[in-house]
């Protein structure tokens, strides 16, 4: 254990002779061109970070507009943003605006934030570092992936300028073939983004296979990398199906070839099969990296070896593989055959088991640890709380009978926000705090971090728990108004929508606050001069480089003598299963 630390003492600390500090990856070259054409995985990771944060806040503002409109049952808030000659015209124009808002919110959050979020930012930054490699296997391909992402994002922004998109992020046919909005531009954008995803996946898989440090066996790979590896497999195998589906959709719209539209002899349910064949595995693209982040933060901040390493690593891969066989659970009421629904329900329950094992293992890791309540740890504990609710409510939707009632209601909206926001976003926050000082060589304010974690938790639960209640009470999703329902349901829906809207404001403020203190720390945060200034370190290799890392990561090839979870606080004399 000590050997590893001693051998890999990079040039980050002040040199013994007191010479000028060595340049790190941030200040090695400050020109704009050195950023735009960088092949350094760390800089590419930061460019992704800036981009996904921009789109996250953009999508978040759209969400707040939606929530504000739903505060009252009728059409009101959005009518101030549209024009019309009378109340009826205003209402319908506002309805169109609402439909564009929820479509863009969903499409931006999924394609531009959630899918690239953790893999493209922290994955890019830390995958080579944690493997003890000097970069990813194909650095040029990595930069190319980033520019493909930017190009795809431009197509999405174009849909805004060209009068919006109102199909929902799912582009269900035949509505998407008949609407007048910018379907082709946005599906083409998603098509392009898919290539970015595939190329990043290929890059990661090759890097993990070929560039591990000496002695880093498959059982010494940090769990974050097992998660990224499983994610990459899905990206490579599933994304082409989405690409083909979106191309077929474009052909149908542009050339009038009947594939999905029954008016032209197509089958709309076929579209749903194609779409969910990608989009269900895509859910695991979004959540598996979050699992990896939680495994790292929980063990580092409780100074304990992760519990059940083998089970957690195996569960990531098995979730990735079984995840390919459950897409039909989005379609229990779509008119697909009841027998198909039966099989999809059964396989869906099979995914629940490895997921449950992960949660149990994280909690068991805390046992007899040395737990510190800093920002990354509070976010990780918050993740366990929220993701457990997200996971358990999935059972109601996997069950055939109850899904019939809950499908396409706010129960589903609440469920996937608990997984995607309570899960992925909170894990993203855990990651950003966990690695912040390592990445930038500056400390954020720990109290600000704790306050942010607590308010995100409160705001989030207010926003989305109320949506479970209104959903099981029948409130359908994608509704602009709900003033026509019967009085007893109206009073429930109104109360729950109001709690949700207030919660979303708290969540929005908490996240804005987070952005501010993190940005502030980049310029005014306490500087990290050497590793002893870090508030915490781990045993995996990203902690064995300078802070911030040097442009080529390591001065000497690090060697993996030990498990990445072998902390020096662990008292081996206590005994315990090994």
């Amino acid at each position: 254990m000590t050997t590893a630390t001693d051998v890999i003492r990079p040039g980050g600390g002040p040199s013994a002779t007191g010479h000028a500090e060595e340049k790190d990856y941030l200040n090695v070259d400050n020109s704009i061109m050195s950023w735009l054409f960088t092949l350094d995985h760390k800089r590419i990771g930061l460019m992704y970070l800036a981009s996904v944060l921009f789109f996250f806040f953009f999508g978040g503002i759209l969400a707040l507009l939606i929530r504000t409109e739903l505060f009252t049952p009728g059409a009101d808030f959005l009518t101030y943003f549209v024009s019309g000659k009378n109340a009826a015209e205003l209402k319908l124009a506002a309805a169109d605006l609402y439909n564009q808002l929820f479509t863009l919110h969903g499409a931006i959050m999924i394609f531009l934030f959630l899918i690239p979020s953790i893999p493209a930012t922290f994955g890019n930054f830390f995958l080579p570092l944690m493997l003890g490699a000097k970069d990813v296997a194909f650095p040029r391909l990595n930069l190319f992936s980033f520019y493909i992402y930017v190009l795809g994002a431009f197509f999405f922004l174009y849909t805004l300028a060209s009068g919006g998109l109102d199909t929902g992020w799912t582009f269900y046919t035949p509505y998407s073939t008949s609407t007048n909005t910018a379907v082709i531009a946005s599906t083409f954008g998603a098509f392009i983004l898919g290539f970015s995803s595939i190329l990043t996946g290929v890059n990661f898989v090759v890097t993990v296979h070929k560039m591990r440090a000496p002695r880093m066996t498959w059982t010494r790979i940090p769990l974050f990398l097992w998660a990224l590896y499983s994610t990459s497999l899905i990206q490579i195998l599933a994304t082409p199906v989405l690409a083909i589906t979106l191309l077929l959709l474009i052909f149908e719209r542009a050339l009038g070839i009947g594939i999905f539209d029954p008016a032209m002899g197509g089958d709309p349910v076929l579209y749903q099969h194609f779409f969910w064949f990608y989009s269900h595995p895509a859910v695991y693209i979004m959540i598996l990296p979050a699992f990896g982040v939680i495994s790292e933060t929980i063990s580092v901040h409780s100074r304990k070896h992760i519990f059940g390493y083998g089970f957690i690593a195996a569960s990531s891969v098995s979730i990735a593989l079984i995840g390919f066989l459950v897409w039909g659970h989005h379609m229990f009421v779509s008119g697909q055959s009841p027998l198909a629904s039966l099989l999809f329900s059964m396989i869906t329950f099979a995914v629940a088991v490895p997921t449950a094992i992960k949660v149990f293992s994280w909690v068991a890791t805390l046992y007899k640890g040395s737990i510190v309540f800093n920002a990354p740890m509070l976010n990780a504990l918050s993740f366990i709380f929220l993701f457990t609710i997200g996971g358990l409510t999935g059972l109601f939707l996997a069950t055939l009978a109850t899904d019939v009632h809950l499908h396409d209601t706010y129960f589903v909206v609440a469920h996937f926000h608990y997984v995607m926001v309570g899960g992925t976003l909170v894990a993203f926050l855990a990651a950003i705090h966990h690695w912040w000082a390592k990445m930038f060589g500056r400390h954020y304010n720990e109290w600000c971090g704790r306050i942010s974690a607590i308010f995100v938790f409160i705001g989030f639960n207010l926003t989305f728990f109320s949506q479970f209640v209104m959903g099981s009470q029948g409130m359908p999703r994608r509704y602009f108004t709900y003033d026509q329902v019967s009085p007893e349901l109206l009073s429930i829906y109104t109360r729950m929508h109001q709690i949700s809207t207030v919660g979303s404001m708290i969540l929005g403020l908490a996240l804005t606050f987070t952005l501010f203190y993190l940005a502030h720390s980049l310029f005014f945060g306490k500087k990290v001069h050497n590793d002893s200034d870090l508030r915490w370190t781990g045993e995996s290799m990203e902690w064995k480089t300078a802070t911030p890392p040097s442009p080529h990561n390591f001065h000497e090839q690090p060697i993996a003598y030990n498990s990445p979870y072998d902390f020096k606080e662990i008292d081996h004399s206590l005994g315990g299963g090994h």
């Binding site: 100074r303 304990k304 009421v333 329950f349 805390l366 046992y367 069950t399 029948g474 349901l489 662990i570």
Partner: protein
């Protein structure tokens, strides 16, 4: 009224009223999963909080346990959830079979959905009639055969716990049995004082259920709502007789047209007061010249109206989107004439004697 209050009382914090037998079965599955989830959630979070507090870092060099796995523990926490999940799956499957197999004696009602409305067609031994709302007798299995004119919709009755997508060019089937009548025909009303204004007004004693469209279908998706009235057998028969009379009656064409104007939801896009909504208004255009989107023009006459109802995208009025679904095959010759008559009457050009 006691029965009514009882039915409303079946609503809980999580679930709305139970209007059908299957709702009871489904709620049992729901609450089984719910209590199981609560037990697991409380257990997980209690352990997490307990460990976090008990093993919080008290000194910087606090020693930790080398425990890294336990085969026994891992085996148990794999096996127990697997068994419980299997129980949930099978119970959900059992209720699913009930939901999917309509009894042979079920009464059939045809359902048609379009952007943005619903229509229910009843075939009685005497005639066929339609209704914009769903009226059903209590304690009788009802089978719905559903299809859509345009895009996907989804037929959702939250109080009955049933839902199924409605597809164009394809029939999907759904069935239910209403537990107890909550409405009367004709609707009974009671005098009730408004607590705010102090005024006395009539309120309906019927407690109709909600029909929602649950599959996103565009602009007026959230306004695509109708009511479901559950009537006693006697009241239902009264309603059927009334509707049969209506269907066979020789009411004036423009009155029939006015009824179709709302029941076929023309009114959601076409006003009769001259204001443009999603489509042009019916008022002020009859007999006038219409500019088309392709640059040509024509006169708004009877032929143009009928052509536009059947083939809405052939001649689109300039400045309006091609948003209208076709109604071809859903209106017979008389109904088409009635709509023309109504448009004429809106413009003060209807002459009842002439027809």
């Amino acid at each position: 009224m006691n029965a009514l209050n009882h039915l409303i009382a079946t609503a809980t914090f999580w679930m709305p009223r139970q209007a059908s037998d299957v709702a009871v079965e489904l709620d049992n599955v729901f609450y089984f999963i719910y209590y199981l989830s609560v037990i697991f959630f409380v257990g997980i979070i209690a352990a997490m909080v307990y460990f976090s507090v008990k093993y919080r870092r008290k000194s910087a060099d606090q020693r930790t346990s080398p425990l890294a796995h336990s085969n026994t523990l891992e085996l148990w926490w794999t096996a127990i959830p697997t068994v419980l999940l299997a129980v949930i799956f099978f119970w959900g499957f059992k209720a699913w079979v009930t939901l999917n197999v309509p009894p042979a004696n079920a009464m059939e009602i045809q359902v048609r959905a379009w952007k943005w409305g619903w229509e229910f067609t009843y075939n009685t031994p005497n005639t066929t009639f339609t209704s914009p709302h769903l009226y059903v007798p209590e304690k009788k299995p009802i089978k719905l055969v559903m299809t859509s004119n345009d895009v996907l919709h989804s037929f959702y009755l939250p109080e009955f716990r049933i839902k199924r997508d409605v597809l164009p060019k394809r029939a999907t089937v759904l069935w239910f049995e209403a537990r107890q009548a909550t409405g009367t025909w004709p609707e009974e009303t009671a005098r009730k004082q408004d607590p705010k204004t102090g005024k006395w007004g009539d309120v309906s004693l019927s407690k109709p259920y909600n029909l929602f469209c649950a599959e996103y279908c565009g602009q007026q998706h959230s306004m695509m709502m109708r009511k479901v009235y559950v009537l006693s057998q006697a009241h239902y028969e009264k309603w059927v007789v009334e509707k049969e009379k209506d269907a066979g009656s020789d009411k004036p064409l423009d009155v029939l047209g006015q009824e179709l104007y709302t029941s076929k939801t023309c009114n959601t896009c076409h006003s009769v007061d001259g204001t443009a909504v999603l489509g042009p208004s019916f008022k002020g255009r009859y007999g006038a010249k219409v500019e088309f989107a392709d640059g040509t023009s024509g006169k708004m006459d009877d032929d143009y109206i009928i052509e536009s109802i059947e083939y809405p995208n052939r001649k689109i009025a300039k400045g309006f989107p091609a948003a209208m679904p076709t109604f071809k095959g859903q209106l017979d010759a008389k109904q088409l004439r009635a709509l023309v008559a109504y448009i004429q009457s809106v413009n003060g050009k209807y002459n009842a004697q002439k027809k």
